[in-house]
Amino acid sequence: MDALERLKNDWKNQTNYPKVTKEDIYKLLHKKSSSIVKWIFILSIIEFGFWTIIGFLIKDNEAQQQFDSYEVDHITTPLIVLGYIVLVYFFTLFYRNYKKISNSDSVKTLMQKILTTRTTVRNYVIFNLVFIYISLLIGIWVEMTKNPDVKLAIAQSSESGDLFIFYGTIAVVTVVLMALTTALLLGFYYLVYGILLKRLKQNYKELKTISETDQQS
């Protein structure tokens, strides 16, 4: 008799499990779930809230007010509108993904759906990063063409022959800022979701390997 058959015989005869009463089960129904899906959804909401708050914080500060005085609404308004449209789009996706996940799907389908949810969150973060970059570049361009102080600095640099250094410094600072923002956000993102989904990803990989073997056989 092979090992599993032997185990099967014993498995069937095992009855010494703890007895959970109806009262215990009733209590359980009112406990909160700590499932991965729930955590992903909570994190999505937190990220959504984070970017919305950042948007509002930027709106009220002095630099923004000065920026508004340059009268570049024809550039900023479409950008803001686009930002909100995409925000609503992602929020709808988060919610739809969350609702689509069913714990009575097959193991593989469930895993695929969870990973899709994760991909949506990742795309959302990438969108925000790109949006920040575009806003930053537009902001720099507007400052350089509309801000009297910056225009004066450019003229002075031009006169003294340091224009190349001036532009170079701005370019380096911009790139460093962008790199720092990217590293910080992506690092945080991979850390949080990496920990959360490590086991699930391993299991999904394993299940995929089985399916690939099937295709070959």
């Binding site: 092979d2 090992a3 599993l4 032997r6 185990l7 099967k8 014993d10 498995w11 069937k12 095992q14 009855t15 010494n16 499990y17 703890p18 007895k19 959970v20 009463t21 109806k22 215990d24 089960i25 009733y26 209590k27 359980l28 129904l29 406990k31 909160k32 779930s33 700590s34 499932s35 991965i36 899906v37 955590w39 069913s102 714990n103 009575s104 799907d105 097959s106 193991v107 593989k108 389908t109 469930l110 895993m111 969870i114 959360l196 086991r199 699930l200 391993q202 299991n203 394993e206 299940l207 089985i210 399916s211 073997t213 099937d214 056989s217």
Partner: protein, 165 residues
């Protein structure tokens, strides 16, 4: 006030609770983890219960939700587990060592080897031990029937090698 639906669900879980215990037994290492996973599976079952139409047997449906929870949804918590308050004396989870009271050492070694398998193989073995057909196994796992067979054979070989090096 407990609804009829709730009463019906609780009765079903009470009757079929061994299915959950068996999943917990394979996927956890301590009684605290066992309790925690038992709790999560029950919550997941309850959340999916409105969609349970009764086409499948309740226990068959439990396998699917239970395995999904163990493999995909459950997060082993590092915090001190403050799960439901079972009577701790009554809720003594039989760990593998204590299963062996009347068993020989070989059986204990088999249990140990199965627990060392990865989550997916453990699920296959679990369904196999529960006498599920390859059709049911393939439907639960989302892989083909042929594949479930191939994989089970590999697992059997792997266990054999481990037990008779």
């Amino acid at each position: 006030m407990k609804s009829t639906r709730e009463q019906e669900f609780v009765t079903l879980v009470e009757v079929h609770q061994n299915v959950i215990h068996k999943i917990c037994r394979l996927y956890t290492k301590s009684s605290a983890e066992h309790k925690d996973l038992f709790q999560e599976i029950t919550i997941q079952l309850w959340s999916a219960y409105p969609k349970f139409r009764g086409e499948a047997k309740f226990s068959t449906w439990m396998y699917r939700v239970g395995i999904n929870t163990a493999i995909s949804l459950y997060r082993k918590s590092k915090r001190k587990i403050q799960s439901f308050s079972f009577d701790d004396v009554a809720f003594k989870i039989p760990q593998d060592d204590s299963y062996d009271d009347t068993e020989d050492q070989q059986l204990s070694a088999i249990y140990h080897a199965v627990k060392q398998l990865n989550d997916i193989d453990k699920a296959l073995v679990f369904l196999y031990l529960e006498d599920k057909s390859y059709k049911e196994i393939s439907e639960t796992m989302g892989i083909s029937e042929v594949n479930a067979r191939v994989r089970m054979n590999r697992v059997k070989k792997k266990l054999k090698q481990q037990l008779n090096p």
